[in-house]
Amino acid sequence: MSKERITAGEARTIMILFIMGSTMIMGAGGQAHTDAWLAILMATGMSVPIVLISARLLALYPGQNLYDICLQVFGKLAGRVCILLYVWYAIHLAALVLRNYGEFMESEAMPETPMLVPMLFVAALCIFVVLHGIETLGRSARLMFNVCMITIIVVLSLTLERMDFENILPVLDYGWGPIWKGAFSAFSFPFAETFLLTAIFGGVKDGKSYVRILLYGLLIGSGLVLFITFRNLFILGNYTMSNVYFPSYAAVGRVNVGDFIQRIEGTVAIVFVICVFTKISACLLAASYGIAKLFGLHSYRTVVIQTGLLVTYLAYSLYDNIMEMLHFASEVYFFYAFPFQVIIPILLLIGAEIKVRRGNRANAG
């Protein structure tokens, strides 16, 4: 059994792809319309403390992951409850993201294929990667990130002629209300979800500070999301962006160079699948670690397959239709995720700082 260690760069890349996740196709901060970019900037700012908390916890307990920390800070009983909560959150999040992918496939790409089919294939891939451990996930993330970047740049050069930079005007047209709504929405999806990564980043070698890894990951990931938002805005304009379910798909669909290069929406799907795959794998890994810890299993590998399958069935059952998905994502998710993304992390931090201070004093004295 390998040691489950990844390099700092791999961790950062996993985080970036995790942030990009299903945001690449669904868009972030959509309630703010033309000011979505502003909402994303604000959300990034709001997420910095969360990311710092994550880094601090990992630094206080080197070599240990979120679950170990939970047990240490909250004790046996409350700690286990905490682990259970995060396991549920990881499973639910994996299912949500998988569902985003499934809805996309069903709405745009293959409407006549039963949703379960593409979802199962991606889930199978995630299960496979997770079975092979986090190093495999790290290495594949690095490779796929490069593929992503190349695709995005190539598509950018093709879409440049369709951009109308004035679409960003007028700024603050709708006032600050929608921008705040968009900011909170972007905060909870996807930025603060990265707290879950604390569960898998226990074994990062390289000795680089966690703060640098996670902060850079956040900023780069957020930068990419911002970039895609701008691209979509410049190509589509306000009306279309608010009216279609998948803005990136619609934006790229307009590319038509010399009647030859057209219908390149497939490239958007490539980026989407890569990001979704990474995010689901990360969540699945987190969930498996948690279950193994909770039940004192020897290795998390024994539960990966079944958990992955359960995630898929859950994803299939989550909503009745795409409208429910949008409603949940825009109205309910922020409140539901708040405890996982803000409350428990803060409590953990406070508890951890106290314990460590006490421990140090005890050692010194």
Partner: protein
């Protein structure tokens, strides 16, 4: 290299799984099993509440030659767009394939009653492409335009597509793709326009020609603007990419044609005494490509300035004329002035948007033009350089 039994087994499993997915997706359709649509024409049906759809399909009957693709037309009626589209299966025997459709022609009746409900299906459906061109028929029906042969073997819709692509050299009609139209219908600061398509007779066959534009109030057509004026409307919309400006004509000097190479139109909203005004400034780069008379020496800077001034005056006059038409005849802001106000002065726009149509009609617009003649093509003076003494 020793490969353990486990790994070998795994490899076999993975390969066999791949085979399953390589056979194609769930509902794979061969090219021969679909009917490729080149373009469609939408009219009102004879019965109340019905729409009539004419589809021009690509048909292999033109011959074995790849260049000679034939076309065929099917006309059917139904209650809604999607209803008719599916009914097409009864005549073509197969489902329609939309990926190559190039143009949609609406009849004036449909356009006048509200085009948004007709094109909703086209925009919403996933098999159709949003970058198809949309036009309004200047004839009695849209079907009439689509059905005329034009004496070609190729589908008319592809020819229309080419005409529209070459519009940039002519600039006598706007080029609208369906998503552009959908966007402008929903933007309060600009009224939509669509190119018009007519049939003209030429030695016993009729061909289609695109000229002029239709003016819309949201999605209802109000009327048309003639091709000659449309060019100047395009100047104001900053959609000019080419074309020519003529000064004088065959009988009246100077008989000069300027070829437009580049044009940039800047529209600036200004507040004057609490009232909003629009300042338009166009910058046009041209090349003198024809001189019928030798009255003006355009090589010398003074002569050139004279011609530039002539062009500028003409442009300003024509643009003001088309603004006047839009203001008095249609009361529609087809130039997007409102949208510019929205972008540059959003707070002010909020107070204006409610009755923008009326405000636009009374709007004071000042137009300035700057024409630059960059060259005179390959000859320096007109062919006949001096008048013969009688």
């Amino acid at each position: 290299m020793l490969i353990s039994l486990q790994v070998k087994r795994l490899a076999v499993i993975l390969c066999s799984l791949m085979v399953l997915s390589l056979t194609g997706c769930w509902n794979y359709r061969e090219v021969e099993k679909v009917t490729t649509v080149a373009g469609i024409a939408i009219d009102k049906g004879d019965k109340d509440g019905e729409i009539q759809l004419t589809v021009e399909v690509v048909d292999g009957s033109g011959g074995e030659d790849v260049l000679n693709v034939g076309s065929n037309r099917i006309t059917l009626t139904g209650k809604t767009m999607f209803d008719v589209v599916r009914k097409m299966i009864t005549q073509s025997g197969r489902r329609l394939y939309w990926a190559h459709a190039k143009s949609i022609i609406l009849s004036q009746d449909i356009a006048r009653e509200g085009s948004a409900r007709i094109i909703d299906w086209y925009v919403r459906d996933t098999e159709t492409r949003a970058d198809i061109h949309i036009l309004v028929s200047g004839e009695k029906t849209a079907e009439a335009v689509l059905r005329n042969d034009g004496g070609l073997n190729a589908p008319l819709s592809f020819k229309i597509d080419e005409m529209l692509k070459n519009e940039k050299s002519l600039s006598n009609a706007p080029v609208m793709e369906i998503f552009d139209f959908a966007d402008t219908v929903n933007t309060p600061g600009i009224s939509s326009v669509l190119p018009m398509i007519y049939l003209t007779e030429h030695d016993k066959h009729t061909t289609a020609s695109v000229q002029g534009m239709a003016v819309f109030d949201r999605d209802r057509m109000l009327g048309t603007i003639h091709a000659d004026d449309t060019k100047y409307a395009l100047f104001l919309r900053d959609e000019i990419k080419g074309g020519i400006l003529t000064l004088g004509d065959y009988n009246h000097p100077p008989g000069i044609s300027l070829e437009i190479f580049k044009n940039k139109t800047k529209v600036k909203p200004v507040l004057v005494d609490g009232q909003i005004e629009i300042r338009v400034k166009t910058q046009t780069v041209t090349v003198l490509d024809e001189a019928q008379f030798n009255g003006v020496d355009y090589i010398a800077p003074k002569g050139r300035e004279e011609i530039e001034k002539l062009a500028e005056d003409m442009l300003v006059k024509k643009m003001e004329n088309v603004i006047h038409i839009a203001q008095t005849q249609y009361h529609q802001d087809i130039f997007g002035f409102g949208d510019r106000i929205h972008k540059k002065m959003p707070k002010l726009w909020k107070t204006l948007v409610a009755d923008w149509d009326e405000r636009f009609s009374k709007l004071k617009v000042t137009v300035e033009s700057d024409v630059v003649i960059r060259g005179t093509a390959s000859t320096k003076k007109p062919l006949k350089m001096e008048e013969e003494d009688e």
